[in-house]
Symmetry: C2
DNA sequence: CGACCTTTTGAGTGGCGTCAACATGTGTGG
DNA sequence: CCACACATGTTGACGCCACTCAAAAGGTCG
């Protein structure tokens, strides 16, 4: 059904039947209104690994639901330093940080081949005025993002390297598990350098810590394939008292 | 006009005449709708230095505009570690991070005697469906917060101590200046420890850096009174190439 | 005036960054 | 399919920045 590279027109209703709805826009929205959301989300986009969804400073045209695949968001300092500010999984909505002035403040890049639903933002804003439950969910997603970043600030501000990495692994495990994947065995879609950037560490430190965790019997790791062996020990490291 | 301690009923229209509106809710809202906003923001609250506006886990009743004074927001890890995630000045709206599940994820504490406008959130949500420009501004404020935290993550993730402190001073200077105060001379309302927590540093490090900045002739500092002498040098430190 | 909190400053330590060498994996073109 | 180039990951040696511990000065408030 692909008419041109990367663009896929969609004929059938989608949000209303999407199994990822629980993480995305269609939460708590009654069936009749769901159809209007379907009409709004009329296109998808495919990205190959490494492709850019939007650049920092691009105009906001749409927000995007991740149908499959995963992405990272990066911000850049005036002097060129880069910081990964988030990893985004299947079902998550990205681009909401652009609402402020209708320009994206971050760059979004695919970590693997991915497919996204395109929700044109202007229409979404209009529809959310008419559908209170949609408005509610939009607000929920935005403020959830604020909340996540509070947690990340807490990690960067107060935790040591091994604690940060433990938090990272457990967070990823939990999110994958919520999507029906194994909580104990998964593939990291990002490099050591990207993990390091996200956690405020250098890639060598991340690599060393993985090795140490493996030596302590907390995880098994071969390249990007991770197996969590002793989740309790990770939780303890992460600062959750058993 | 105070009827009971800390609560002040307000008879006259306020948002419509408030000089701080540019940082708060009433941006771009036509006059007739502004009156409806006035009706919604019908109460104020006074806080003494150190008093709590809301605790983490409190129900969301309202969001708050800062009429005068300043506050900090803190999050707490399961093991008790605290992180200051933001400082809030005159005119700013706080409490928006609670929209997700109608519970506050952070604790807000007054850094000095302060007065806040109370905007009951349920009514605000309703009104914002009817007044597109209000909806717009709410979205703008939420996503501005996401953007600010991206910048803070960048600072904590990639910058050294002196760079973080330079960024902090310049950011404060800019915000105060936008409120009509001097950009070069101001009073820090927060302790070295609170600055340290915000920047992921220990209070001793903050103190040492202030001393060093003063020795280098970049600032003058006596207690919490700061004077920026060489803003260009601070900008350079902060990573903005001259 | 005394109790307490905040800030400053010093000395010593260690966690993480830097630099470097090497191993392993991945993709591409002949 | 192999050879090669290049990206990614591992590991070691070393150094520095920021933390820890400690003591004392200065400021604030009852």
């Amino acid at each position: 059904m692909t008419t041109e590279i990367g663009r896929i027109p969609v004929a059938q209703p989608r949000c209303s039947t999407c199994s990822l709805g629980q993480f995305c826009l269609p939460v708590g929205i009654p069936a009749p209104e769901l159809e209007r959301l379907d009409a709004l989300v009329s296109e998808r986009r495919r990205l190959k690994k490494g492709e850019v969804l939007y650049h920092a400073n691009d105009d906001l045209h749409a927000v995007y639901g991740i149908r499959f695949g995963s992405l990272k968001s990066c911000v850049t300092a005036p002097d060129g330093r880069e910081q990964v500010v988030g990893f985004h999984l299947q079902g998550e909505l990205i681009g909401l940080d652009a609402v402020a002035d209708h320009h994206h403040p971050s760059t979004a890049i695919a970590l693997e081949d991915s497919e996204l639903c395109i929700a044109r933002f202007g229409e979404l804003e209009t529809l959310s005025r008419q559908v209170p439950s949609l408005q509610r969910q939009l607000h929920r997603l935005m403020s959830q993002e604020i909340r996540n970043e509070h947690q990340q600030l807490l990690a960067l501000g107060t935790m040591r390297a091994e604690e940060r990495l433990a938090v990272f692994l457990l967070n990823l495990s939990e999110r994958l598990s919520a999507r029906g994947y194994s909580a104990n065995e998964f593939v990291l879609r990002m490099s050591r350098e990207e993990i390091g950037s996200f956690l405020g560490l250098k890639l060598e430190t991340v690599s060393r810590l993985f090795s140490r965790f493996a030596q302590n019997g907390m995880i098994e790791i071969r390249q990007r394939h991770v197996k969590i062996v002793d989740a309790a020990a990770l939780h303890e490291l992460a600062g959750v008292p058993c």
